[in-house]
Symmetry: C2
Subunit: 123 residues, 2 copies
DNA sequence: CTGAATCCTTTACGATACTG
DNA sequence: CAGTATCGTAAAGGATTCAG
């Protein structure tokens, strides 16, 4: 069982659900996988590997399985030769992606600001 | 320098800024600290330590400094005896917190669903 | 093609003691 | 009170190899 810290449960009223979300997207590449998955309808393993350049097969596979266990990714295996497996987002996964959008916007703005700062310079 | 993967930069149009955001909130306790910080106006070190039960001084301090370097936390030191230091969110920190809200909502919904499922049972 | 298995490195985090 | 310094552990991730 996951021990969740609830800083001010009695005071505020709303519990910090970010913990729960962070555990789901906590892996180093998970948001990227999520992103890649939301780009199109279904993605194959090798396709994902190409879409997330630095990742290794091991990490991709384990992340994928964790995300599947978390109910945000659906894995469909067509028992063919050669093997073909397709990954897609579940409804919950899509909703997670939507919930991630404001955060992505924040990150984008931030990056733009930082790039501007480099021109302005601190010294 | 941070190596940013851009899966489909040429295709989609919008770049995945979630990476940037994840690097800022990636620490195990950072969202909790953020949460604690957004609860009130200014928080002192010991106060934060109490609000985030499991955290150690070392991690709290290092996270705080990283968040300060990331420009989302402002540290005000009153050079007094005994020492007093107060932490608060910057504008960017507040905006980050706002951007985190949908994710928190997703997490809360999810938790509620899972708790319901435990009653319904999988088998 | 999709993945499992193994081994290794890195990094984050935790416990404790100490300082201005 | 508000940290820093040091040491140890655990978990995540990376490189490579092997298999169905």
């Amino acid at each position: 069982m996951v021990t969740v810290n609830r800083p001010e449960d009695g005071g505020g009223g709303h519990v910090c659900g970010i913990d729960t979300a962070m555990e789901v997207i906590g892996g180093k590449w998970k948001v990227l996988i999520l992103w890649a998955l939301h780009e199109g309808p279904e993605r194959r393993f090798g396709e994902l590997r190409r879409m997330v350049p630095g990742i290794t097969e091991k990490v991709l596979a384990s992340h994928l399985r964790e995300m599947e266990a978390d109910g945000i990714v659906r894995r469909v295996s067509y028992e063919e030769v050669p093997p073909r497996v397709e990954y897609g987002l579940t409804k919950d996964g899509v909703r997670l992606n939507d919930a991630l959008e404001p955060l992505a916007a924040w990150g984008r703005e931030r990056r733009e600001d930082r790039e501007r700062e480099e021109g302005t310079g601190p010294g």
